[in-house]
Amino acid sequence: MPETVRDYIGAITDVVQTFWQGLSVTLSYMLRRPITIQYPDRTEKRVADMLPARYRGFLEVDLAVCTGCLACARACPIDVIKIAVDKDPGNPKQRVITQFDIDESKCMFCGLCVEPCPTGAIAHTREFESTVRAVENLVFRWVPDAAKPVPFYRPVKGQDAPRAPAGSLVRAYLASQVWAAPVPDWAAPAAGRDKG
């Protein structure tokens, strides 16, 4: 509320000045570069390849170096990882992994499972795109067939585990997926959902 003439005039000049400055700022952005990254098709390389190395995308398991210690499954606060181990019927001394499921639809990508892994078998990748029609297909089954279990890896002291390059496994896994794949047989039927 203007009370004096000076206030009255001051209010007008303030408005003019600040509008002047504000308009010049917005105009200057017409000359600057928009920061938009035109995902997914107008980028120089795949967005997944532009992400930093530590990016916590889909989890990937290299079963070749998995020791079956269950540390990841225990670290997970929301039980995303389901591992089943068994004795190899052919060789009772050799223990095998018969199931290694990661429910990526439930995963909150916190990274707690990666830290206790002794060999780096489980790791986050930079992949994040996987659209599927049935959400159950986001359960990545790293042991696809329980009849063909994977033997435990025995780490060698003073030697790094020979892990596959990060991301290569999950990319191969995703490439093998069909987005419109039907709900897998093992999944319990959800009520009122299109099984398409």
């Binding site: 509320m1 203007p2 209010a11 007008i12 509008f19 002047w20 400055q21 504000g22 308009l23 010049s24 700022v25 917005t26 105009l27 200057s28 952005y29 017409m30 000359l31 600057r32 570069r33 928009p34 920061i35 938009t36 990254i37 035109q38 107008r42 980028t43 120089e44 532009m50």
Partner: protein, 458 residues
């Protein structure tokens, strides 16, 4: 990181298929051009006498035919349709322009996928809105709810009757033109009130009440400020006011008279408020009233409301251009020169049509610049509060407009050379301000570390 952009090496033709390019170019250039040309060609037949003369040449005796009025009516209907189509196309194109400008101002890109540079996005939007379900709240007053957008549409289209497009391109040059324009645009607020009441929603009611208070208040400063050019021209006719000005900036009313310079800003502010544009978008106020008076609308009806809102910008811009910025006057070409090229024939010469088209383009460019200013303001300023909106009107604009009015009463008695001096001084001053503004804009970029002029990424 480096991003491939539309402007990088690849040309438009490789980037877009030829059909997309052709369609976009048609919509972008041919459509408005087509509308303009139709309007232009209808001109000579704008009065029954001209119709008679043309019919005579064709060997008809229309003057005594009972269908003379019918023919004249058909011509008027075609003209009216053309103008209405023009409003629709303008509203659509403006949404695209607004979204692109807003995008750049916000460090975004804006719609750039449908059509070349995303131009077809307005067509896509229109189609989308037409196909959406048209919901009417169960408790709403059904008939009024349906009728409300049409009230606004009436308020939008009626002013176009007197809005000039070019030297002779006007549907009807009423001798009470300006007065008529302010009167008919009030229908828009009737639409707002009816929609707010009929929706039976508290948000909509709030929006409607705000809208009514706002429009009724701002009609007063707008009305008084409009009197300034009316006084200077000595006529209420829109064309008459433009004819009283000239093509060069120092011949514009805004520069000829310091009071008119102020009145120009008052008119623009008041018309922003009457058109419910930010900073006066209180009736819809997204962050307060969700969507205000059209909160309950969807589909085709909201498309009508939005069309009114955007097309109304043309009226606001054209009004200001007509009254203060020299209208369609071509610099260096006087009205007499244009009239001399007309010839004595009923059907004017092509040269005359050429001049008409130039004047039409001059008017359109000026109006577009103002429309872009409105868009620019919208994406810069916050929204005012209801009491501030009222205070601005009654404490600043009304006294200001009145002072301009009184000043002009004396100014018209001042000899003409003073007007010229004022015109030169004020237009030079305005040019200086523009230069200063450009420097300020450049400084904004220079002052921020990491920012630089870069026009890629479209």
């Amino acid at each position: 990181m480096k991003i491939t952009t539309a402007l990088d090496s690849t040309s438009l033709t490789t980037r877009y298929p030829k059909t997309a390019l052709a369609t976009t170019l048609f919509f972008m250039l041919a459509l408005p051009f087509l509308l303009y040309v139709v309007l232009l060609l209808m001109l000579p037949f704008n009065r029954p006498e001209a119709l008679d003369a043309v019919a005579q040449r064709l060997g008809w005796d229309l003057g005594h035919s009972p269908y003379r009025d019918t023919w004249y009516g058909v011509i008027l209907v075609v003209e009216a349709t053309t103008v209405s189509l023009y409003t629709a196309v303008f509203a659509g194109v403006t949404t695209w322009v607004e979204r692109r400008i807003a995008g750049r101002m916000q460090s975004r890109i804006g719609p750039n996928r449908p059509g070349v540079f995303g131009f077809m996005s307005w067509v896509a939007d229109a189609v989308k809105m037409l196909f959406k379900e048209d919901l009417i709240p169960a408790e709403a007053d059904h008939l009024l709810f349906r009728a409300a957008p049409y009230f606004s549409m009436v308020g939008l289209t009626l002013p176009f009757v007197v809005l000039p497009f070019g030297e002779s391109v006007v549907v009807a040059d009423l001798n009470v033109g300006v007065f008529y324009l302010t009167a008919t645009s009030a229908f828009i607020v009737v639409g707002i009130l009816v929609s707010g009441w009929a929706s039976n929603s508290k948000w909509a009611l709030f929006g409607a009440v705000r809208g009514a208070a706002q429009v009724v208040s701002y009609e007063i400063p707008a009305g008084i400020a409009i009197m300034v050019p009316v006084l200077m021209a000595g006529t209420l006719s829109m064309q008459g006011i433009i004819r009283a000005q000239g093509g060069w900036p120092w011949q514009w009313f805004a520069c000829q008279n310091p009071a008119a310079f102020v009145a120009f800003f008052i008119t623009v502010t008041a018309s922003l408020a009457e058109g419910n544009r930010t900073p006066f978008d209180l009736p819809e106020a997204e962050s307060e009233l969700v969507a205000g008076y059209h909160a309950e609308y969807s589909g085709f009806r909201i498309a009508l409301f939005l069309m009114v809102e955007w097309a109304n910008m043309w009226i606001m811009g054209a009004l200001a251009v007509t009254l203060f910025l020299g209208g369609w006057q071509i610099p260096g070409v006087s009205v007499e020169m244009i009239n001399q090229t007309r010839g004595t024939d009923v059907f004017p010469t092509w040269l005359w049509f050429g001049w008409q088209f130039v004047s039409l383009v001059v008017f359109a460019v000026k109006t577009w610049l103002l429309v872009i200013l409105f868009i620019w303001l919208r994406w810069t300023l916050p929204r005012v509060r209801v009491d501030q909106m009222m205070a601005l009107c009654w404490k600043y604009l009304v006294p200001g407009a009145f002072a301009c009015f009184i000043f002009t009463l004396f100014w018209v008695m001042v000899p003409a050379p003073v007007h010229l001096v004022s015109g030169v001084v004020l237009s030079l001053g305005a040019a200086l301000l523009l230069v200063k503004f450009a420097l300020r804009t450049y400084k904004n970029i220079a002052q921020v570390k990491g920012a630089r002029v870069d026009l890629t990424n479209w």
